[in-house]
Amino acid sequence: MRLSRRELIALMLGAPALATGCSSPPVVPLHGELLGQSFDIGHRLRDGFRPRPADDQWRNVQVAIVGGGAAGLSAGRALLQGKCDDFVVLELELVAGGTSRSDKAGDIAYPWGAHYVPVPLADNKPLIRLFTEMGVVESLAADGSPVVAEQYLCRDPEERLFYQGEWIEGLYPATGASQEDHMQLKAFRELIDLFAAWRDSSGRRAFAIPTSLATDDKEIMELDKLSMADWLRGNGFYSPRLHWLVDYSCRDDYGLSAETTSAWAGLLYFASRLRAPGADHQPLISWPEGNGRIINYLAEVIGPRLQTGMAVTQLTPVTSDKGDFVEVTCFNTQTQSVTGLRARHVIFAAPQFLAPRLITEFTERTKRKTDEFEYGSWFVANLHLKDRPPQKQGYPLCWDNVMFRSRSLGYVVATHQAGRDYGPTVLTWYYPFTESHTREVREKLLKATWADLADVVLTDLEVPHPQIRQLVERLDIFRWGHAMIRPKPGFISSQQRRDARHPDGRIHFANTDLSGVALFEEAFDHGCRAADEVLSALPQDRV
C-alpha cells in the first residue's frame, strides 16, 4: 500500500517535521528522477533466472572480476600492476562505481554516495601509491606520511551544524553546552587518544585503516560485543551532546545508530583517524564528485576490460583434465544476450550475500553461511540549485552541512572543493535507513514515488533554508537497496565474517563487507589482497 505524503514525512523525518511539512506547498514545482540499482535483474536472479550461453558463446579469460565497484576496480588495477592483463570486470549497472559512483551536470560534478577519504597514515602504503599515481599525493614526508596536494584537501570551512536555529562551526553542538558537557567531550577525546596510542605485542594499533593492519587482540575485539552507546554509558559518558555527536558519526559512517553500532566500529571511526595521541583528525581528501574521482581513475586504467550492464548469473567451479576453471555466465542487460567465460580465477567483488545465490553449491562446498551479513539502505538526493540559499548570519556554507534535529545526515556541496562560491550548485543529501526502520517500513519507503520523496527532502532542508523550494531546479533521488554493511555488535568478531574472505577454490573474495564496515580503504585493501592471491596462483596454472 502506498503511503500518504504525511505518513511518509512522519516516517522519514519524524513527527515534528509534520508541522513544517504540511504548511509548505505540497506540490513540487520541479523535475527529477527516481534512480536505483537494477532491482529487476536482482529479483529475477533471486527467483531462479539462470540462462545458459550457446556453445559458441564461450571464451577463455584468465581472471573474471565480478562487480565493478571500488573493490573490483581496485583488484583490476592490482592485476595490471602484477602484469596480468587478461581479465574482465563485469558490472551489473550501466555505471561503474557501486556506492562510490558519481555524475555530472554541465560543469558541476557531484557524488551519488561516498565522498571523501581521510588522508591515509604512513603505513597504508598501497593506498598512498594509488593516490600518488592520481597526483593527489605530491610527495612523502620524512616519516613516510603522504603530502597531499592542497586542492584535494577538503577546503575550509569544512563542516557546520544547524543547531537551535543557527549555523555554528563544526559538528559538536557547542551552543549552551555546560561545563560538564565540555568535560565529557574532553574526557572522550582523551580516551580515544589512549586507543590511538595502544599497541599490541607485535606493534599493531588498536584501530587502523585498513582494518587488516589492526590488532586482533582480545582486549580490543571484546569491544565488538557491546554497542557504542553502551560503551559510552559504561565509561560514564552521559552528556546528550556527546551522545548526539557519536550517534551522528555512527549514522554517517555506518547507517546505524549508536545503540546498534558495535563499539569496535564506533571507536574505529574516531581512533583510526589519529596519527598519534593528541593529534588532530587526519585531514580529508575530497573531490567535487566525491570518491567517483577514484572510480573514474581506476576505470580509465582498466580501460575496455570494464564491461558495464553485465549481470553475472552463475559461477560454477569446473574440474577438467585440461585444468580447473570457473564457468561464468553473463547476461547483457542491454542486448539481453547470454555469454560464457571460462576463467582460471574469479574475484568475487560483489556483496557477500550474493555469493550463495550466484556460486553453484557454495554452501554445500564451503559450509559457509552469509546470514549475518546485514546491509543498510540509503536514499541519496542530488538537488540542482540555481543559486545558494540566502543567509544573513551564522557560520557560512560549508562542505558538509548537518542539521541537529534531522534524521537525515544533511548535505555536502559539490562546488565547494572546486572553489566556486557563487551561483548554481548541487547539494547531495544523505538519508540512511537506520535499524529503527523495520523491514515493512523499508519496503514501503522503497515504494514511495519520486514526488513524495522529493517533498521529504525539501521538507527536511526547509528547516535551515526556508527558500529552498524556490531555488531547486532539479531533484534526483537514488534508492540504494543493499548499500552498506552494518557493523552491528558481534558481527566484526563473528566467525562467519572472518571466514568469508577465504577463497572458495578458484573464487577469491573482495568487498568492503568482508571488513564489516563500508569504507573505500577496505574495498581497496580487499581488492589488492584478492588480486595478490590470484597473481601468486597464476604461475602454477601456466605450468
Partner: protein
C-alpha cells in the same frame, strides 16, 4: 456637544497641540524623503514620490475621519496620536533596520509613508470637529490652519538646521514620536469631559507604554544608529545597491565620495590616488615596456587608470566577479570621471568571473604584470584568493620576469594577516618585497611586490610618469619598501585552502564577525 464640554481655559493649549502635531507631521514627511534618497539614491524621484504619497495618504486619512462618530471623537483623536507616535516615531529606526534585511525595501518604505500620512491626515479633521463647538467656523478654520502652516515652517527650518545635524535621523524620528505621544496623553486631561471613565484609564496606560517604549529607544539610539548603515558609514548615502555578490554603497561628504563593499571602505575619492599609485607602479615600473597586464579585482577601474598611463600597454584583462561593480561607473558619473572611464578603454577586457576559477583554467594567457586588488580577506570566498593554491595557479599566468603587486590590508592593524600573506607567497616560491604607504582615509596600508624571479633592488618610475603622478616620485617609490619598527615581521601560519588561516587572522584582528 452632547457628552459634555471641555474646559475653556486650556483652549489655547489646544492650539499648541495643533502646532506640535503640524510640526511633527511635516518632520515625518521630511524624514521619509531623506531616508529614501539616502538609501535608494536619486533624491529628486524619492522626494517627489514620498511627498506625493504622503499628501495623498493625508487625504485618505481626512476622508476616513468622517466615519468617526461624535461620541468617540475624543478617544479616537487620542488613539490616532498614540498611533502616529508609534509608527512615526519608530519609522526611522525600523526603516534603517529593514533596509539591510528586507529585499523589497521600497514596499516597506512606502507602506510606512502611507501609514504615517493617513494617521496625520486624521489628526486635524478630528481636532477641528472637537473644537467646532467652541468657535465659529471662520475662526476655527483660520486659526487651526494658521497654526498648521506655522508648524510646517518650524519643521522645515528645524529639520536641516537643528534636528538632522544635532540629533540625526533616528533620534529626530523618536523625538517627534515622543511629542505626539505627549499630545495624546495630554489630551486625556484636556478632553477628559468627553471621555468615559473606563476608557480613560486604558488610554493613559497605553499612552504611558508608548512613551516608555520611545524613551527606551531614544536612550538606545546610539546603538540603534550603529545598526543602521548610514551612521556606520558616517556620511550621506548617495547610491546603494545589492548585487549578487555584495552590497555596494557610495557615500558623499564635503571631501569627496567613498565606495563601500559589504560595509568595508574601498576608497575615498580624495586620497585614492595614493593607494592606486602605490598598488600599480611598483609592479609596472621594473618592466621595460609592459604590454600584457592582468588585474584581479579592481572593478572600480582606478588601478586600471594608473595602468593605462603606460603607453606601451597593449591589452589589459580585468577579472572581477561582480558585473555590478565593473559597470558602476556607467551609473555613477563621478566614478566615471575619477577612473577616466578606464574600463571602457579599447585595450581593456573585463571578465566577470571568480578569479579563482578563471586563474585555474588550463592554458590561459600569460602576462607581464599582475595587479591584485581583491577586497580584504574577510570571508572564506575571498580568503581562497590569498592561498598557496591560488598563487601556485597564478604562476602559470606569468611571463618571464613578471611582477605581481598585491593589496594586503593594514600591516599596522592586522600584522598577522599581512605577514601571513607574505609567508604564503614565500611558501609558494615567490620572491617577496613587502611595502607600505600612508593613505589618510585607510591609515598605514600594506602591499606586497612579488615575482617568480628576482626583484630589482631599486625601482625607477617610468619616464612617462615622472611629474605626472601625484604621490610617487623615485624616492617615495623606494621609500615605501623601508619598513618602520612598528611594522616588524611576525611569525604566522601559511594560508592554505584547507586551513584558511588568513581569514581566521583577519577575523581576529579586525573583528569582522562579532
Amino acid at each position: 456637544m452632547s457628552a459634555g464640554s471641555m474646559n475653556r481655559a486650556p483652549l489655547v493649549l489646544l492650539y499648541l497641540n495643533v502646532l506640535i502635531i503640524a510640526t511633527c507631521g511635516l518632520v515625518y514627511e521630511l524624514l521619509a524623503g531623506t531616508l529614501a534618497s539616502y538609501l535608494l539614491g536619486d533624491s529628486v524621484t524619492q522626494f517627489s514620490l514620498v511627498i506625493g504619497l504622503y499628501l495623498s495618504a493625508m487625504g485618505a486619512g481626512a476622508w476616513i475621519s468622517r466615519f468617526v462618530v461624535d461620541k468617540s471623537l475624543a478617544r479616537c483623536f487620542i488613539e490616532v496620536e498614540l498611533g502616529v507616535a508609534l509608527v512615526g516615531g519608530l519609522s526611522a529606526p525600523l526603516l534603517f533596520a529593514a533596509f539591510s534585511r528586507v529585499d523589497i525595501f521600497g514596499v516597506v518604505l512606502y507602506g510606512f509613508v502611507f501609514a504615517i500620512g493617513s494617521l496625520v491626515g486624521l489628526e486635524l479633521p478630528l481636532l477641528m470637529r472637537l473644537l467646532k463647538e467652541h468657535l465659529d467656523f471662520e475662526d476655527l478654520v483660520s486659526r487651526v490652519l494658521a497654526f498648521d502652516y506655522i508648524g510646517a515652517l518650524l519643521a522645515s527650518l528645524m529639520f536641516p538646521i537643528f534636528l538632522v545635524p544635532r540629533l540625526g535621523l533616528i533620534r529626530t524620528s523618536l523625538l517627534c514620536g515622543l511629542l505626539n505621544a505627549v499630545v495624546g496623553v495630554w489630551g486625556t486631561y484636556l478632553l477628559r469631559p468627553l471621555l468615559n471613565r473606563s476608557g480613560l484609564l486604558s488610554l493613559r496606560i497605553r499612552g504611558a507604554l508608548v512613551i516608555g517604549l520611545l524613551l527606551i529607544a531614544f536612550a538606545q539610539a546610539e546603538r540603534l544608529t550603529k545598526l543602521s548603515e548610514e551612521s556606520a558609514l558616517g556620511h550621506a548615502v548617495i547610491h546603494a545597491e545589492t548585487t549578487h555578490y555584495q552590497r555596494l554603497v557610495l557615500t558623499r561628504s564635503e571631501q569627496g565620495f567613498r565606495l563601500y563593499l559589504n560595509g568595508h571602505l574601498q576608497f575615498n575619492s580624495m586620497d585614492e590616488y595614493r593607494y592606486h599609485e602605490a598598488l600599480v607602479h611598483p609592479a609596472l615600473s621594473p618592466i621595460r615596456s609592459p604590454k600584457q597586464i592582468l588585474v584581479l579585482g579592481g572593478g572600480d577601474g582606478l588601478a586600471m587608470r594608473e595602468i593605462l598611463r603606460y603607453p606601451s600597454i597593449e591589452s589589459v584583462t580585468l577579472v572581477d566577479i561582480d558585473p555590478g561593480m565593473t559597470s558602476l561607473a556607467d551609473r555613477f558619473q563621478p566614478l566615471a570621471e575619477l577612473s577616466k572611464s578606464s574600463l571602457r578603454d579599447p585595450r581593456v577586457t573585463v571578465i566577470n568571473e571568480d578569479a579563482f576559477i578563471w586563474t585555474g583554467r588550463a592554458n590561459g594567457p600569460k602576462f607581464d604584470a599582475v595587479v591584485i586588488d581583491f577586497p580584504d580577506p574577510g570571508n572564506f570566498a575571498i580568503g581562497k584568493l590569498y592561498t598557496t593554491r591560488f598563487y601556485r595557479m597564478l604562476r602559470d599566468r606569468l611571463n618571464d620576469g613578471a611582477m605581481i603587486s598585491i593589496q594586503c590590508t593594514s600591516p599596522l592593524v592586522a600584522p598577522k594577516s599581512y605577514w601571513c600573506i607574505v609567508s604564503t607567497l614565500e611558501a609558494t616560491g615567490y620572491q617577496v618585497r613587502p611595502y607600505h604607504a600612508p593613505v589618510p582615509t585607510f591609515g598605514e596600508w600594506g602591499f606586497i611586490l612579488a615575482s617568480a624571479g628576482p626583484i630589482p633592488e631599486r625601482l625607477t618610475l617610468s619616464t612617462e610618469l615622472t611629474g605626472k603622478s601625484r604621490f610617487l616620485n623615485d624616492d617615495v617609490l623606494n621609500g615605501m619598501f623601508v619598513l618602520p619598527h612598528d611594522l616588524v615581521r611576525v611569525k604566522t601560519d601559511i594560508n592554505q585552502l584547507n586551513n584558511q588561516a588568513l581569514v581566521h587572522y583577519y577575523d581576529e584582528e579586525w573583528g569582522v564577525w562579532k
